[in-house]
Symmetry: C2
Subunit: 329 residues, 2 copies
Amino acid sequence: MDILKTNPAEIEVGVVGIGLMGSSIIVSLLASGHRVKAVAPIPADFADAGNKIKDQLNNCLHVGLLKNSVSYYFNRLEISTNYSCLANCALVMECVIEDIDIKSQVYKKITDVVPATTIIASNTSAIAITILQQLVSVPERFIGVHFAEPAYATRFMEITCGEHTDAKYAEWVFALAHHWGKEPTLLRKDIRGFITNRLMYAVYREIFHLVDSGKTTMEDADKAFRYSVGSWITLMGLFRRMDYTGLEDYAEIFKNLFPKLSNADHVPHIMEKIVEDNGRGIQNLKGLYPYTDKEAKEWERAFEAFNEDIFRLAALYPDNVAEKERILI
Amino acid sequence: MDILKTNPAEIEVGVVGIGLMGSSIIVSLLASGHRVKAVAPIPADFADAGNKIKDQLNNCLHVGLLKNSVSYYFNRLEISTNYSCLANCALVMECVIEDIDIKSQVYKKITDVVPATTIIASNTSAIAITILQQLVSVPERFIGVHFAEPAYATRFMEITCGEHTDAKYAEWVFALAHHWGKEPTLLRKDIRGFITNRLMYAVYREIFHLVDSGKTTMEDADKAFRYSVGSWITLMGLFRRMDYTGLEDYAEIFKNLFPKLSNADHVPHIMEKIVEDNGRGIQNLKGLYPYTDKEAKEWERAFEAFNEDIFRLAALYPDNVAEKERILI
């Protein structure tokens, strides 16, 4: 099989790991028309997986992402605890926890059953692809494919090459990602932290500095960011925004402001305290903000609803506003 | 008149400067029920102002922000080239260009006609309030009130004290801003660059570094930011997002990534080139991206439509998701 010439719809895709991300990735692949073989290395995930995936397929139906019935898609999925089900997969997505030893064992089990032509992808957002690809037998076919959660209702995707990845496979996945309804970015160099993470961590560094030094509060910073950046980011991105606002004052402000921004290289005080307290935010009701059990659940519901809303809204505004023919997948 | 005890709806508000921001601020104030006295220091703005404001009031009507007819609100506005119309205003908003000499002349003309009890506010986003307040006779009543564009259909507002501002007036404007349907933040210390600007410039510093060093492209960075941050920012803000995602990996990533982020203190190469070329983005079709005249117009139309959409969407998700009773103003 020459994977580069295969019709995307005919590709069987494997997924290893059926946690939060793994299950929504499975749903995204099913909704895109693939047959999916899913391996659950954790028994608890295996028991739970069927119902979880049916629920998410129902969400897809609700958002208008499915052409056929939920059962049509569900029947194209095989869930197993046995890696041998991956034998015919042209692409296998690894979605297990960010632990290099566990990932290493998983890659060994995958490569034991798939042909050398199979592309192996990791959904990691924390470990460099160049490091992970040293753990597989065909590193040039190893690649980073980073989804956002929930994978079936977000368009974000970062495709990242490691040092030894052959670009033609990255480009193949890039094309396939469009078939999945994504708006992928292709990072040809494996930089620490990927693009989006680096941008966000630059913001975190500055905002922790402003809060730690008493210049603003978490509440105000959150509010300001929601109502300022929130009012244009989904339409424009960063560079387009500068063009839109006329570019005039930026250079002058860069010159004045860059030397005043935080260059901190240490973990902020507030975050150190959270780690000491074993805070897990809404998960254990110990976060940067306080939560009752009811409030934590309300945030989960609100995000589910908001994500649907912004997904639909973003679909009305494609990359190039001139491409009016583009519609919700 | 004790301004702090006045019923917000009865306050007459003055606006000086009827450019892009000034006119949408006038519309925001009218839509909130104030009588408005507007001074147009530039004759061309004066000629144009009436029609521009009627158009924007029609936009407000379309978004559902008006309880009465467009003409009801328009009739509560007086536009003049003469500062004496400001005599009874409890609050005067200065919205002229970011030039300290021009602002100084404007403040002189305002303070010549208003009583010492009037609060004077600047919509500046570039000059420190502590500097501007030295130009007025009652600095404790001078304050920064920074709207986003278009002021009538955005909830963002940064209220900033200068070193000599009396906090009680800032708190009064803060309360008034809620009456305007804003989600204001109150910055008690006058820091260089305000909150939102500092956060965004931290992102700009990093993203120019990544693009300048060939690690990604403008197109990919824009795409990644739109579809990642865009999928949650309007709901959550930055700190809430960390709580939502469980907080677990942040401290570790801070430790690893902060030392690798850009600490540049100079204007990025790409931006220097734009300044040399006198690029003004979509305004003169010379930007970071290329534009035809048609494309520039399409971006303007798209932003107008998107802003309406995201404004309505954000209204469904107030600050605290538990406050279900809150609705579109």
